[in-house]
Symmetry: D2
Subunit: 138 residues, 4 copies
Amino acid sequence: MISSITLRVNYSETDQMGVVYHANYLIWFDRARTELMRETGLTYKELEQQGVYLAVSEVRVRYRAAARYDDLVQVRCWVRELASRRVTFGYAVERAGTGELLATGQTSLVSLTHQHTLTRLPAHVVDLLKPIPDPVDL
Amino acid sequence: MISSITLRVNYSETDQMGVVYHANYLIWFDRARTELMRETGLTYKELEQQGVYLAVSEVRVRYRAAARYDDLVQVRCWVRELASRRVTFGYAVERAGTGELLATGQTSLVSLTHQHTLTRLPAHVVDLLKPIPDPVDL
Amino acid sequence: MISSITLRVNYSETDQMGVVYHANYLIWFDRARTELMRETGLTYKELEQQGVYLAVSEVRVRYRAAARYDDLVQVRCWVRELASRRVTFGYAVERAGTGELLATGQTSLVSLTHQHTLTRLPAHVVDLLKPIPDPVDL
Amino acid sequence: MISSITLRVNYSETDQMGVVYHANYLIWFDRARTELMRETGLTYKELEQQGVYLAVSEVRVRYRAAARYDDLVQVRCWVRELASRRVTFGYAVERAGTGELLATGQTSLVSLTHQHTLTRLPAHVVDLLKPIPDPVDL
């Protein structure tokens, strides 16, 4: 499964170079990941209510072209890898309309208890997070 | 007591107009308020550990001149008003060096329990938060 | 005209109190204001391309109930007041579904040239920004 | 040269997991990089005034332990690699006092003209940015 969200670049996301400040892409990744989980049938909110927290343990982003104010941007998200206590998501950020690739990236998240100790991903979560081959080079 | 912090404008705080995006001033206010409380002898962190939460209930800001990238900015903070369940802080943002007034504002915070219900400010907190006359017009 | 956007609260917008950090409402206001302008037929992006910049000169927010992670939130926006060099927008933030009022506010913006000096709002902009009575108490 | 900044975690940087939201580390990296450049004798602000823009082209972060509200955090920054049109900075985020390693990372920046086309780093900039061996594993 590949999930996709479309978002409009807001003024608050730009910097004085006239482009989207790079840290905002991590927030876009988060929003896309949240929707991917929702589409699998389990929201991240429910997961926390079940006592399972996913904390970001690693991030990589490659910025390829600038997103600008008022651009419509599409963020695709998928599961790259799944281990017993860790899941890695991949992302592709594209300009809506043209499909121009703006950025790619990945984030790894580890499964934590409410006390912030590592724990196995629950079986029903593992069943939902099916890794697929990357649709674009990261 | 008037507390003061000095901060350097970071690139992430600018927008494509080449100035500090207006929402960031609320974060500067928060940082100044945190230091004011620390200087009274009670950190906000300790207050939360005692089960008292201060939630922002009202904000007002007047923007007078733009702060820019790499500017050194001074934020002064003081207690304006104190009631049994509410405290109002005042703020003045000035360019360090010249003293040019960039913004003024105020935030009111209400006292909440961990369950997010209104509660009286503890007596030892009231004793520390002494209102003073505004040093600048807000 | 009253414009309305619906947004999903992202994890990045929460704080350790488990609610949306208060400064984020200003960003929501910005997003709602941008869509209001787009619906009038003139995007803010085009306005900047015509050499007119709108800078926030005053903000007021009253926080009434907390927005939480993954909530769907509706932000309504309208023009409150219009003067030759200044326009004031009003906002109401409500929980989608229940309509519970979460916050209200207003922002005033002044018209600037590219050199950041005050200027009159162009006639074609004034024609589009029609003030209406507040639909809710601010 | 290794530059170091110390910062206090603000409430705005926390999320509902009670830790610093991961995207904020990129902002801390930016602040540390800015100070490193200032210490070499050339501020990034001056570089932009000379028509040279550094845009982030790649980011990697490994999160090792959580930073929390009101923590004092030290961010060290150094130059890892230097090429004709690209410079890579390394970062180590540590809890002040204990020295506990919270995160490591790197960002690569490419040199752009005002028109956002790739350009060589000016010779006087290359002279200032001396790569050193990593003081910690990234």
